[in-house]
Amino acid sequence: MQGRRIPFRFRLDSFLLTVYLIISGILLTFSSGGFIVNFRSIGFSFMSGAQRGIYSVTSFFSGTVTAISELSDLRERYDGLLLQLKDYELLQRSNADIRSENERLKKLLGFSEELAHKNIPAEIIGHDPNNLYSGISINRGARHGIRKNMPVVSFQGGNTGIVGKIVQVGRSTSLVMPVYDYQCFVSARLETSRYDGLVNGQGNSDAPLVMKYVKKRARDEIKPGDRVVASGENNNFPKDMPIGFVSRIRGLDYETSLELDVEPVIDFSRLESVFVLDMSTGAEN
């Protein structure tokens, strides 16, 4: 069997074209300073393009995954920050409360320093459980130097006023009889006209106090709004300590004296802290 021969036909024209092109190219290369096509640049462009594609795809997926992860982290941080925000709001509120309390205490401190007598600050801890009586319990007692019949005053909204007097002293607590009690009597005087009388309560903090035994001739010199102060007789209450303001004047023809309704300076429904005064001392606080 004779093997089959592949016929080879030299194609000179193709050969010459190739040689010419190569030579022409070499000639161009030297004559122009370089080859126009930069294979390194082409290769780099290709490879970096591929690299960029791969990076983009990779970064897309990794970015998505990271974004999901970050979203989760962000949610956690967001929740955390919300909690922190609430804490800050609470802090801000308590800060405002503290500031307000600070202001109140500053005023009380200022008032305490202004008082001419040694004073014992106290807080109200309870009220009388019996509807007919109006005792107020405070958190200071004999241990703090409180004695029976000491006057109790307070400072409220820029006004100083008489609250009452101590009627019962325990070791760490005391009972105050307020000026509005039926059994509380304060020797008083009208601040401007200087007529005196006796202020007594009606058993209820909402009802006005009554100033009795005011001379009838004082009728023309008294008007609603006049200030009633303690006369300071017997040294029971500090002289000229405000009690209230005249709200009504009553005088019957057959009576020899006037009766005045007096609105207390102190609003007992908002009373929180008081000062017990030691009248046996002067300005030594």
Binding site: D128, P129, N130, L132, V167
Partner: protein, 167 residues
């Protein structure tokens, strides 16, 4: 009886402190219900006059310590109220609302009456309820309304407030 008195005293001490420190500071309450009185009435009615007056006395003394009233005033009024309520023990069945309401109202009236009688003997130091004033009537209503609640609450612990001889 001893156990009932001890538990009643503890309860009354707690109730009077709550009344003085918490209820008394609630501005919307025009008057304070006399919860101690209601406890005394319940315990007395569920036991005997002996238990009633003993618990009434102890409760009253405890209340006197907290109040600006003359010491012994509450002791006296509550002893009498406890005694009368104890006398009624077993006379009728205690329902949920009507009888407790009536007992709360009745006890307040007895308290006011006793105070009035005591004022004859002990002078102006004893303050009186005024029939024309609102305090008395408001307290009557408050005690009447609170009585069913107090009685129902104490009923849950009848083992502490009713002596075994009766329970």
């Amino acid at each position: 009886m001893g156990r009932v008195i001890v538990w009643t005293s503890v309860t009354v001490l707690f109730v009077s402190l709550v009344t003085a420190t918490i209820l008394a500071n609630l501005l919307f309450l025009p008057v304070l219900p006399d919860l101690v009185l209601l406890v005394v009435v319940y315990v007395s009615f569920m036991n005997s006059p002996e238990t009633g007056c003993t618990t009434g006395f102890i409760s009253g003394i405890l209340l006197d310590f907290l109040s600006a009233s003359p010491i012994g005033l509450n002791a006296c009024t509550k002893t009498i109220t406890g005694f009368i309520a104890g006398k009624l023990a077993g006379s009728f069945n205690l329902d949920r609302i009507l009888i407790p309401f009536a007992m709360g109202v009745g006890a307040t009236v007895i308290k006011a009456l006793t105070t009035w009688i005591l004022s004859f003997f002990f002078g102006p130091g004893i303050l009186l309820y005024k029939l024309t004033g609102s305090v008395f009537w408001l307290e009557v209503v408050a005690n009447g309304l609170c009585a069913p609640l107090v009685f129902a609450f104490l009923g849950f612990f009848s083992g502490l407030f009713v002596s075994r001889s009766r329970g």
